[in-house]
Symmetry: C2
Subunit: 179 residues, 2 copies
Amino acid sequence: MQKPKIVKAKIVAETALFRIERLDLEFSNGVTAQYERMLGSERGAVLIVPMLDDDTVLLIREYAAGLHRYELALPKGKIEKDEDILVAANREIQEEVGYASNKLTHVNSLTLAPGYSGHTTHIVLATDLYTSTAEGDEPEEIEVVPWSIRELDALLMRDDFSEARSIAALYVIRDRLSR
Amino acid sequence: MQKPKIVKAKIVAETALFRIERLDLEFSNGVTAQYERMLGSERGAVLIVPMLDDDTVLLIREYAAGLHRYELALPKGKIEKDEDILVAANREIQEEVGYASNKLTHVNSLTLAPGYSGHTTHIVLATDLYTSTAEGDEPEEIEVVPWSIRELDALLMRDDFSEARSIAALYVIRDRLSR
């Protein structure tokens, strides 16, 4: 398929966290249309699957402003300037779960909403953990919740576990570990 | 955990597609912080897993402005005003894959990025399909790609399949169908 031509691109809104771009597109069949998209951070984010042992994954519970509730999910965070994916992953788990890892593997990369977002999240499997903490920028202490990776059905039934990236990553890693 | 108090909420940007809200929060430990979030559409979206038979799921390939490339994913769309989740799902698959369903099941509901987005997506399993098309608002024809739901590893290896919601939904449905 031939990609539509971007006839014009313009930033139409910019806030502390978000940058919205409006695109004037011309599709290969001649149809023109206006689209808006959220520009992602350049380096993207990491989402880590920290395995305490072959069965136990460490989830975190923290306040999620988008839903205004406490939410259970995998630890994650933005990659800093000049930071490697695996280095970012190891920093985040030290900040959020109190462990570092001797074995970090970049498993794959996910997108959030390709239709209107440029956001990319790199999934990193962290094994061979050891206790190590680092100071993050969290407003309050994060609760760490160990969970059996074989018990994903029970996790999905919870009202406070809903994030698509965490669900996708847990299934992918569960399949990988059971092979 | 006691939720932080929303001291002040203010819309700081609004475009054709996005609405950004800034929150002044006070956490239960007294820490104050400013957060931004993207408000989702009130009724949310549906993402459909249309099964042509016990093994074949129908994916679609369409232009994704967020990534400026063609992307493979499950069919999805916004729920319209006063529209039921299952009605929206049946409308979307008629518009995007050319089938309607006699059996629609709301399996669960996912969020995209709870930290900064209020977006909710309802996952609907559609079986007992029959040919039926409806006019959508797509700028060009959508390609329908049948795929074996047992072959998720091969799907994940593709460069044009990355959406977390589609990955999560396919794993959840595959597990459900294989039980």
